[in-house]
């Protein structure tokens, strides 16, 4: 592997890993804020338990997102210095704004939320989780503005060989960003919905299995309690899980609708803005109107400059045109039409310039790796759709107040937590790899070679060696691997502990005293590391 390939693997691994934590943070944060609000308004204890339990899992996950987010920011300068020089004037701004306007709020107010349960008046304490979770969403907006500018550069001119911002409004209201933002946020809520659903299902099933809950002749739940476990398995505990489950399922279904609608708008834009990406998503060599359900043949085209070996086995006629144009007739350009167009506009060979390293003067492959784009696109849609169907089914199956007595369904519910995560990863891999061979894709509404765009081959740091890059790739990947295991082990333990893992006071059999225990010491920590 050369420096460029190692740097790309590192970027991909870091991004996909980081984006396992991010959607859960975004989706769960706001959900917990709503739970606490309902508790604040109604005073019903099961809402407090939900806030604390889901809040605990939220924090275990949040910290991993923080830790890997720093790598995201640093690696532009470390591994992609030429890219940073070229784009810094435009791309740096949303990144700096994210830190200053969003991440500061998120971190500070989460600290206040975690430690402030007894120190802040309840209203103010409630406000802190709202500030933190809304800041997470604002943070997503800034990052997506930066990413969308790479997909579709606007508000920029090429001056003295670098991209210079000329219209901030255009950059921050880039239509690519405006459709990507809801798509990503709905995707994040789909993750949170599935998470709530799967874990709550598990607990409801265990309550039935252990004989705590049962069903009557009509299939309606008969809630019981297990006094041996303190108040953790009391009647309110059932309410915690059934409420969480149904909230999760509704979030999952609604989010999928949002993901699908915003995704459709996004696809229409992408056909205009990055036609090659969408042709590669379809593995469509020739112009056509059908959406491929299954395509066989040699889809693997790494480094290829033509595309002929692919046969669509089963197509839905007209659907592709609908996705792209909103009608069923207008043909969509295939790879073989697009390659000559790209070559004519942007050249058939990389410039013979040392900035391109070993790629200087080589022929440019405008075709992304079609195996990845084709299957990534389909995996995203399939996993997203499956989890929405599962959530809708779960709503129906739990209409009588508990889950069916089935070990397999319970296992499936836990497994299905992974589906929206997979859909998110597949979507990102598709859109980032589909942009290749560019880091900054050219905006087709502008001219040819004299406009703002950048090849990936020219983006990497010129004098960082393959050895250094390999060292960091291996180190970071190992660290991510170890920490993923640690996080999963911890999450599993806290999930199995139920609400008692976030509220140890529930493990005592005594009823809660009216007196606030923190009064004794004047100021005992309500929460301590």
């Amino acid at each position: 592997m050369d420096v460029l390939e190692i740097a790309r693997w590192q970027f991909g691994i870091t991004t996909v890993y980081h984006f396992l934590m991010v959607p859960l943070t975004i989706g769960l944060g706001l959900t917990v804020a709503v739970m606490q609000t309902v508790w604040h308004r109604t005073g019903n204890e099961h809402w407090l338990r939900m806030t604390k339990f889901w809040g605990k899992l939220f924090l275990i996950n949040f910290i991993m997102g923080v830790a890997t987010g720093i790598v995201q920011e640093f690696q532009f300068g470390m591994a992609w210095s030429e890219y940073s020089r070229y784009v810094g004037d435009v791309f740096g701004a949303p990144l700096a704004m994210e830190a200053l306007l969003a991440f500061f709020v998120e971190s500070t107010f989460l600290g206040l939320w975690i430690f402030g349960w007894k120190k802040l008046p309840p209203r103010i304490h409630l406000a802190t989780i709202w500030c933190a979770s809304l800041a997470a969403i604002l943070s997503a907006y800034f990052i997506l503005v930066a990413n969308s500018w790479m997909q579709h550069p606007v508000g920029t001119e090429l001056i003295d060989g670098r991209a210079v911002m000329t219209d901030a409004w255009a950059v921050f209201t880039n239509n690519t960003a405006l459709v990507t933002f809801p798509h990503t946020i709905f995707g994040a809520f789909a993750v949170a919905g599935g998470f709530l659903l799967g874990i709550s299902w598990f607990h409801l099933y265990r309550r039935r299995k252990e004989g705590i809950d049962s069903v009557d002749a009509n299939g309606r739940v008969v809630v019981g309690e297990d006094p041996a476990k303190g108040r953790v398995r009391d009647r309110k505990d059932h309410k915690v899980w059934i409420t969480s489950l149904r909230i999760g399922a509704v979030i999952a279904v609604v989010s999928f609708a949002g993901v699908a609608l915003s995704g459709h708008e996004q696809a229409k834009l992408m056909f205009e803005q990055q036609p090659m990406k969408m042709a590669a998503a379809e593995a469509a060599c020739h112009d056509g109107t059908g959406f491929s359900v299954l395509t066989l043949g040699n889809v693997s085209t790494e480094g290829a400059t033509t595309c002929d070996d692919v046969v669509a086995v089963f197509e839905l006629p007209g659907l592709l045109s609908y996705l792209a144009n909103g009608d069923f007739e207008t043909p969509v350009k295939g790879v073989n039409t697009l390659i000559p167009e790209y070559q004519e506009k942007y050249g058939s060979h990389y410039p013979d310039d040392p900035a391109f390293g070993q790629y200087a003067g080589e022929e440019i492959s405008y075709l992304p790796v079609m195996e990845v784009t084709y299957w990534g696109f389909r995996l995203m849609i399939t996993l997203g759709g499956l989890s929405a169907v599962a959530a809708a089914l779960a709503l129906w199956l739990t209409r009588k107040g508990t889950v069916p007595y089935s070990k397999w369904l319970s296992r499936l519910a836990l497994l299905s937590i992974a589906a929206p995560f997979g859909a998110n990863s597949a979507g990102w891999i598709f859109t980032e790899m589909g942009r290749q061979p560019f880091t900054v894709a050219p905006n087709p509404q502008m001219g040819g070679v004299d406009q703002v765009f950048m090849y990936t081959a020219a983006s990497v740091s010129p004098t960082v060696s393959a050895g250094e890059m390999l060292f960091s790739l291996i180190t970071l990947t190992l660290v991510y691997g170890v920490l993923l295991v640690v996080e999963l082990v911890l999450l599993t333990r806290y999930i199995r502990g139920g609400t008692g893992s976030a509220m140890p006071e529930l493990l005592d059999n005594e009823q809660p005293s009216d007196k606030d225990p923190s009064d004794d010491e004047g100021d005992v920590l309500a929460f301590a590391y």
């Binding site: 275990i60 910290i63 923080v66 720093i70 920011e73 640093f74 532009f76 300068g77 470390m78 210095s81 030429e82 940073s84 810094g88 004037d89 435009v90 740096g92 701004a93 700096a96 704004m97 994210e98 830190a99 200053l100 306007l101 991440f103 500061f104 971190s107 989460l110 600290g111 206040l112 975690i114 430690f115 802040l120 210079v164 911002m165 000329t166 901030a168 265990r206 740091s461 004098t463 960082v464 060696s465 050895g467 250094e468 890059m469 060292f471 960091s472 180190t475 970071l476 660290v479 920490l483 640690v486 333990r493 199995r496 008692g500 493990l507 100021d523 005992v524 920590l525 301590a528 590391y529």
Partner: protein, 341 residues
């Protein structure tokens, strides 16, 4: 609009100073927990003094890096790519440190907890050293060619300057965290910190002042020398007020020492942001490394609104958690037990 790059130079210097001041005691406390002695309750007192605020403090680093990217992309690109290996280690250190703070209390056995403590200690130490080395190198120079790229291989950064800067930030963070504990704890830790502070302050502050002095050598800037003088006076003040038991006064004086010493360094370096040790013609300066006036103007408006806001709510969070902590405040651990059979 000529003053915009200067403004951003000042702002980035402020962000780095803010980072060193705030995360300084977090890093020092991390080192004390991970590498020092003391029982479990003792460690938990230490950790809880920074518990609610450490993550917000770390954002100063992200903001400093992000602001450098936005305002001086050439500075950001050259510095970060030249320091590829040490920054990789800093990243790993920061990852382990963050995760250790959150997860150490969740460990089930003493052995795993011990491992997290090591991660916290070494993570803090390596992060402090790496950031110090980076700041020293950006003020004292790296072998850069005309494109701003490092020459001389992966270890070209490993110089006496880097080591001096690294040691300076490690030592400062440690002593700063001792001063912080005197304000934030009660009981034996407070008393012990008072003794440690008086004994170790001169040695711990010396590398920072030396770094400042090295940057200033050959400089005629009266302001820079004046600031260094102020740093010296402040550190003497910190030592004397600590001896007479004035905890807040010595903490503030130490803070002024940091402020003045780092300000002296940046004033002396101005307008160069990253000198090339190969040829002064390859130096990165506020003019040839900066973004366009348009971007700087946009970012200035954002900063004018954002920075005061950050200062306001971060100060508020310190106010909310102003109470001293001692071992009697630390609740018993509770181990999470599975409720499902």
């Amino acid at each position: 609009m000529d003053w915009l790059p200067t403004l951003w130079f000042i702002l980035i210097a402020v962000l780095w100073t803010g980072y060193l001041f705030l995360e300084g005691f977090d890093l020092g406390i991390g080192m004390q927990i991970g590498l020092g002695r003391g029982g479990e309750k003792h460690k938990r007192v230490l950790l809880n003094t920074i518990g609610p605020v450490w993550d917000g403090n770390e954002v100063w680093l992200l903001t400093a890096a992000g602001a450098t990217f936005a305002a001086f992309p050439y500075w950001y690109a050259s510095l970060f790519s030249a320091l590829y290996l040490p920054l990789t280690l800093v990243l790993v250190a920061l990852i382990f440190r963050a995760v250790a703070i959150e997860y150490r209390g969740k460990a089930e056995s003493r052995r795993t907890r011990g491992l997290w403590d090591l991660a916290l200690g070494w993570g803090s130490l390596v992060a402090a050293f790496g950031v110090g080395a980076m700041l020293a190198l950006t003020t004292l120079g790296l072998p850069l060619n005309e494109n701003g790229d490092r020459v001389g291989g992966p270890f070209a950064w490993l110089t006496w300057s880097a080591i001096l800067g690294g040691v300076a930030v490690v030592a400062f963070s440690w002593i700063h965290s001792i001063a912080f504990l005197r304000l934030k704890t009660d009981g034996p830790i407070r008393a012990r910190s008072g003794r440690l502070f008086v004994r170790w302050l001169p040695l711990c502050i010396a590398p920072l002042l030396l770094w400042s002095l090295v940057v200033l050598l050959g400089q005629r800037s009266a302001i820079a020398w004046g600031l260094l003088g102020l740093a010296l006076i402040a550190v003497c003040g910190a030592w004397m007020s600590a001896r007479s038991g004035h905890e807040a006064r010595s903490f503030i004086a130490l803070g002024i020492t940091l402020l003045a010493a780092v300000a002296a360094i940046f004033v002396a370096a101005f307008p160069v942001v990253l000198p090339s040790t190969l040829d002064a013609a390859f130096d990165l300066t506020i003019d040839n490394a900066s973004s366009s006036p348009y971007t700087l103007k946009l970012m200035s408006i954002v900063a004018a609104f954002g920075v005061p806001l950050v200062l306001a709510y971060q100060s508020w969070s310190y106010w909310v958690f102003r109470k001293r902590i001692s071992e009697k405040h630390i609740p018993e651990d509770h181990l999470v037990t599975s409720v499902v059979k």
